[in-house]
């Protein structure tokens, strides 16, 4: 993942105040916070509520609604495996099972800094099974291809 800033109320306030007027809304605010800090710490909720003049409950409502918003720090490597129909048709289920076996972790969990998540379609449905590793789209995946992309992502970080 790209490097992130350390959390501080001051930094968050600066970011929120610099947002253009038309984007001073809850979801874009949360997305900005996540882009800068890598996740949305609990402490950011009152800051957003104050800056946007909304209730904390509303901010939490939005934060918990969207799959993309993270309430804990991101792993160094995020792997998204497509589990939708077009990829199922070309072996997404066996691929997911092999990844779980090889990395010893079920989809939805993190181990040794590698997070495996399910994703419902990456728009690469003619070249499935599809996966994404730290934002890089892969087609015609097997365990080796995904593994190589994970190793490459790790070497970039090392």
């Amino acid at each position: 993942m790209t490097s992130h800033q350390a959390w501080s109320v001051e930094a968050a306030t600066v970011i929120l105040q610099a947002m253009p007027a038309e984007e001073r809304l809850m979801l874009p605010a949360l997305q900005r916070i996540q882009a800068v800090f890598g996740w949305v710490p609990d402490e950011s909720v009152p800051v957003i509520a104050r800056e946007l003049n909304v209730s904390r409950a509303e901010v939490v409502g939005v934060l918990t609604y969207y799959h993309d918003l993270r309430q804990s720090p991101p792993p160094p490597v995020a792997v998204q495996v497509c589990v939708s129909e077009a990829c199922q048709a070309v072996g997404a289920r066996p691929l997911a099972a092999s990844l779980e076996a090889v990395y010893g972790v079920p989809l939805g969990e993190t181990r040794d800094g590698v997070e495996f998540a399910k994703v419902y379609c990456l728009g690469n449905c003619a070249l499935g099974p599809a996966a994404m590793v730290n934002g890089r789209l892969l087609g015609r995946c097997d365990v080796e291809r995904v593994g190589a992309a994970i190793a490459q992502a790790q070497s970039v970080l090392a």
Binding site: A89, V90, G123, A126
Partner: protein, 515 residues
């Protein structure tokens, strides 16, 4: 200088197009050969990606699928002159798969560098907007009506009627919202168009803005499409610099500007009212209709909501008049549909062709049968809320009405093929699971019913009170169909019940052989 095209489309990149482009550059550099590498969109022959094209006097010669390791041999073999090679495909425009298509919305995708505005103009771009700026609002809306264009996002509502409603709505503040959430599995045409020819979408939106009197446009793009988002944002900047977006569109004193907004991973945010909530920065909860978005949409203002493909069909309809478009298609399905062939097919990709092509032509002639070589068993048309059709049903005409008559729906035009290794009870279970994960939570039948559905299907496959649970499943589906506010809960029964209807044997296996 020889011009070489290596696609920048993310599907092409997912199988190595960047590495191939680098290899071409390096190999030519080492040999002191001067070449110009253009990163075009994808032609949509996805099974051939990375598909490299070389410009020659005979036309653009194709080679594919190319790996970086193939590059030295290709150059040795004279591919820079378009020479024959085992990867050679001949003149790309003449490949029957492509030559048989009727590309309107995708006319430019794969042909030009997506961000080269001169190339866009040279291939007929901006004629539609120029014409729209000289016409009255009523004339433009009349053209859209006359073209017969219907919404490509799923519901198939006549576009012109929506345009007229927004035009007649009184407000100083109106919006054009492009739905680029493309959540349906098996669909990728919005993505390929946004990555491969973003100016067409922007031009379509600008024409819509001029027609209905909106000054602001928003494009809501799913976060799974980072390349599309980046391409669109750059395209908007280029259009502003060129003066056809912004405060003085082509010097007419009219204002129309576009902002690209990123989604946050929610399927139901593709439903238009949930998308509007999300664009307002809130939870993506579906709003009851009425009021319809055309009258009370974004921030309560009249809003024209359209899918990417609907808006992208507009520039050519306005530039060339509605007649050409209307002349294509069958019955009440006019023009072309951008079909997306996906799943277990030998030749997957984009097939833009007039409505009325049969599913068999798509699967067999274009798709080339299954990738695995095993018998075809089922085809899901229209995304995760679409029906599973059996291999015997391939003669259906691909248009809105014929598909509805055969118990299916066209949706966003996705066609996903499965071979005989698929278990349809597992697919039915997945449909329920997807609904449970993605439900916005407003209606009980959708939120709770889907979880119940998973449990009931599990009991059926496990052989627990099978007949009783099959009845229960049908009841549950009826409750979801009748008691859901939107098509998420309302149409999830479609894949479930079609699987049950066409493949009952998969629900009646001895439990020990159920996968």
């Amino acid at each position: 200088m020889t011009r070489i095209y290596v696609p920048r489309d993310s599907a092409a990149r997912s199988v190595g197009a960047d590495e191939v482009a680098r290899a071409v550059e390096n190999e030519c550099g080492v040999r002191g050969i001067n070449v110009e590498i253009v990163r075009n969109g994808s032609r949509g022959l996805l099974w051939l990606e990375p598909l490299v094209e070389v410009e020659t006097s005979r036309g653009r010669m194709g080679y594919g699928p190319v790996t970086p390791g193939d590059v030295p041999g290709l150059i040795d073999g004279g591919f820079l002159e378009g020479a024959h090679h085992e990867l050679a495909l001949g003149v790309v425009d003449d490949i029957p798969w492509l030559a048989r298509q009727q590309r309107v919305s995708f006319a430019r995708v794969g042909i030009i560098d997506p961000l080269d505005l001169d190339a866009y103009r040279a291939t007929g771009g901006l004629r539609g907007l120029q014409r729209a700026l000289q016409e009255s609002a009523e004339e433009i809306v009349g053209d859209v009506l006359a073209s017969g264009l219907r919404g490509r996002g799923g519901a198939g509502f006549p576009a012109g009627i929506k345009w007229r409603t927004v035009l007649e709505a009184e407000s100083l503040d109106k919006y054009i919202c492009c739905n680029a959430d493309e959540g349906d599995s098996g669909t990728f045409a919005d993505r390929m168009l946004m990555e491969g020819d973003p100016f067409t979408l922007l031009e379509g939106m600008a024409i819509a803005g001029v027609a209905v009197g909106a000054t602001r446009g928003l494009i809501y793009v799913r976060s799974e499409y980072p390349d599309a988002i980046a391409t669109l944002r750059t395209a908007v900047d280029i259009a502003r610099v060129d003066g056809w977006l912004g405060v003085d569109v082509m010097g007419t004193g009219r204002t129309f500007d576009i902002r690209v907004v990123e989604g946050a991973g929610s399927y139901v945010c593709g439903e238009e009212t949930a998308m509007l909530e999300s664009l307002e920065g809130k939870r993506g909860m579906v709003r009851p209709k009425p009021p319809i978005p055309a009258l009370k949409g974004l921030f309560g203002q009249p809003t024209l909501v359209h899918n990417v493909l609907t808006l992208s069909a507009v520039p050519s309809i306005i530039a060339d008049g509605p007649g050409d478009y209307q002349a294509l298609g069958v019955d009440r399905s006019r023009g072309t549909q951008v079909f997306q062939l996906a799943g277990n097919l030998a030749r997957g990709g984009i097939v833009e062709i007039a409505f009325g092509v049969t599913l068999r032509e798509l699967i067999e002639d274009f798709g080339g049968g299954t990738l695995s070589g095993r018998p075809l068993r089922a085809v899901q048309v229209g995304g995760p809320l679409g029906a599973y059709l059996p291999a015997e049903a391939l003669d259906v005409s691909m248009d809105y009405e014929a598909l509805a008559d055969s118990g299916g729906l066209l949706g966003h035009g996705g066609v996903v093929a499965f071979d005989d290794s698929i278990d349809m009870a597992t697919q039915a279970r997945f449909a329920m699971e997807f609904c449970a994960v993605e439900s916005c939570g407003k209606c009980t039948p959708c939120r709770i019913g889907s979880t119940r559905g998973i449990e009931v299907i599990d009991k059926i496959t496990a052989g627990v009170d099978r007949e009783l649970n099959l009845v229960l499943l049908e009841d549950l589906c009826a409750t979801m169909t009748d008691g859901s506010l939107c098509a998420m809960g309302g149409l999830t029964p479609l894949p479930v019940l079609s699987a049950l209807a066409h493949f009952p044997e998969d629900f009646h296996r001895p439990p020990e052989v159920t996968p």
